[in-house]
Amino acid sequence: MNRMWAIVERELRKFFRSPALMLVSMVFPLVQLIVLGNAFGGKIKEARLGVVDQDGGTQSVKVREALAAVEANAHTFYPVDYDSDQQAMEDVRNGRLDGAIVIPPEYSRRVYEENHPRIALIVDNTDNFMSSTLESEFSDLVKALNNPDVDPSRISQQITLDTVELYPYIEYMKYLLPGSIALAMFVSVMIGGGMLYIDDKARGVHEGYLVTPITKFELVAGLNIAGAIKAILAGIVITVLGALLSGLGTIFIPQNFLWVLLMILVTSLAFNTMMFLMMVRVEDPLVPRATFGVLNTLLFFPSGAIYPIKAFPSWLRWIAYIDPFSYSVHGLKALLLKDAGFVAIRGDLAFLTISAAVMITVATMLFKRTL
């Protein structure tokens, strides 16, 4: 096995001589974490809402007071007065307004007469997020206008729903962190794993090694261990940096950190053996570069890192079930967000370890010992 360790030594010496490569493989997941975390997790603020008051009575004043309250507190939207409902609709259509509310004439009278009073909400439903936010805000507003001042949960005949939150509020950026750690390892494996051996092949450097008595298994294992070590380093750096950036303190408890380390270790092995197997018969150095983006999308997004797997259509779920990313993300989420122990991650550890063993075996069989 000394020959295997000689290969590991060679790869790691080369790696530490080019720190640029290390930095690049860590910058990408960090940037993704910060940008995605902030781009996705937010709430709508300062939408432009046109208000057409065709009534002018006391009840419409109440509506306008409610709108002003939202503007002052939650800042979800700010109202802009319009004279004509046609103009308001036109402006929603061409994007000058994010939505419009029309209080029809005779609104106040209809409220007093209890004669189906209605308020119109005009939304641009090409933008799902915006229109659903406005709809839910206004449903709440109309409910508040309708209800008496007594809180219905105090009335003993009504069924009420009490929500029990198991964990403290998790911002989206924290939710993304497990996925980002897995992604950092994946990027490191892409850059420092399969691609390097193919580049060596293209330059003819691998001939220098094939003439020695090293066995197929020693060469494959050496390359995979070296790639996994690089991925582990990337994973640890992103875990620490990402936890600091998103304000997640769980990793600084020693026991948690050890479990996270174990998770990082098996993830690195699983990823590296997977990429190595995919590239084992590839000769053209352009192939890993061209497929990097595709593989990233195909493996990262279905893993549940960004959006839950249960929301996927069934064909996408199948990709998630065989994708090592999913198990890695699931395990890391359990450790980082839920502070869980070994029991929660043992299934993930098992899958990742077994898949690594299987993939390295198949890769050794497929590896070409001659030119």
Binding site: M1, N2, R3, W5, A6, I7, E9, R10, R13, K14, R17, S18, D199, A202, R203, G204, V205, H206, E207, G208, Y209, L210, V211, T212, P213, I214, T215, K216, F217, E218, D284, P285, L286, T364, M365, T370, L371
Partner: protein, 367 residues
């Protein structure tokens, strides 16, 4: 599941001689003496790629201690041949024995006994000179003590001791080649293969590599096989040369014997002014002339058995016909003439292989 079990030297089953060879795992690479003194035996070896035959039924032996050359133009099959011998390519037909080990059946034992310098530069540019040597030695299972000793000695031999801790990418092409020669010898092999060792080097580096190889050969018990398309290299270095063309072995002998076998040991190169159209026929009629080859710009290359006699005859003929002789030189037969004799073409006519994708050099490397 033999592919899973790491092969070791003890797998080749040649137990008695294995035990007697000096330093089984260390300085001496644990290679036994070859059965009947043949370091290399190539027996009807063939390499086919589909319908294309790259190497066609080549056979030869190389004795221990020889420097043996494979000479031929690009595309002749020399590199394919040497790659089969060094276990890089699977053999389609026939067999090759390195130090008595069949390269198809006992590749790891064969590999342990040989050092190989491939045509491309295969040293790691990110590693230092010493690291390159040390890691390679570990791949051959050289133990720590012998490793240190061998590396010190080899750096001395290839004159790179000052560059021990320099990164390989700071070395020039010639120095890298010297590093790779050292690397190929770090496990003290008995047989040394070099595939086009001086291609791409400047003339000064080429001479220094030749001198180094001769020094190494004299100080160690080594058999060397080189492939080359340079006549001067083959002529100067090799004890015997095999001429290879289109995958076939065309001639095999020492350089002197090869040159002697070409009828006409002298070559006259003469350039004339205003030579008539039938000048070639006129030259052929001179005494002792065996062949006349016209070249560019009214230059004629005349092969003859007696240089001085033909020269006199030529000058007299030119004076008689009133043709002015612009230049005249007499030289001995070169290997190029040998090549022309056996193949009908000049060694200088080379085909260049096209590559579909060539990896660019890493930035910061010296050419």
């Amino acid at each position: 599941m033999s592919w899973l079990r790491p092969k070791s030297n003890s797998d080749h089953g040649v137990a008695p001689s294995f035990a007697t060879s000096v330093g089984a795992k260390g300085g001496r690479s644990g290679c036994p003496e070859p059965p009947n003194g043949d370091a290399i035996l190539v027996d009807h070896i063939t390499k086919k790629y589909g319908d294309f035959t790259a190497v066609d039924d080549v056979s030869f032996t190389v004795k221990q201690g020889e420097i043996f050359g494979l000479l031929g133009p690009n595309g002749a099959g020399k590199s394919t041949l040497i790659r089969m011998m060094t276990t890089l390519l699977p053999i389609t037909g026939g067999r090759a024995l390195i130090n008595g080990f069949d390269v198809s059946k006992e590749p790891d034992s064969a590999r342990q006994c040989m050092g190989v310098i491939p045509q491309a530069l295969t040293s790691d540019i990110d590693l230092t000179v010493e690291e390159n040597l040390s890691i390679y030695a570990k791949l051959y299972g050289v133990d720590a003590e012998h490793r240190k000793r061998n590396i010190d000695e080899l750096l001395e031999t290839v004159d790179l001791t000052k560059w021990r801790h320099a990164q390989t990418k700071t070395l020039s092409g010639g120095m890298r080649r010297r590093l790779e020669i050292a690397r190929g010898l770090v496990h003290s092999p008995k047989i040394f293969f070099l595939d086009e060792p001086t291609t791409g080097l400047d003339p000064v580096s080429r001479v220094s590599v030749w001198e180094m190889l001769t020094r190494i050969k004299n100080s160690r018990d080594l058999t060397i096989l080189i492939t080359t398309h340079y006549m001067d290299e083959a002529d100067r270095l090799c004890d015997r040369i095999a001429i290879v063309d289109h995958g076939k072995l065309v001639a095999l002998d020492s350089p002197a014997a090869l040159k002697a076998s070409v009828p006409g040991t002298n070559v006259i190169e003469a350039q004339f002014v205003n030579a008539p159209a039938d000048w070639q026929q006129e030259l052929e009629k001179l005494d002792e002339v065996t062949s006349v080859q016209p070249e560019a710009a009214h230059m004629y290359r005349i092969l003859t058995g007696n240089g001085s006699q033909t020269t006199t005859g030529l000058v007299e003929l030119a004076v008689r016909k009133g043709i002015q002789v612009k230049s005249l030189s007499v030289q001995n037969t070169t290997l190029d003439d040998v090549f022309v004799h056996f193949t009908g073409r000049q060694l200088r006519d080379e085909q260049v292989k096209a590559f579909s994708f060539v990896m660019p050099d890493r930035p910061g490397m010296r050419p």
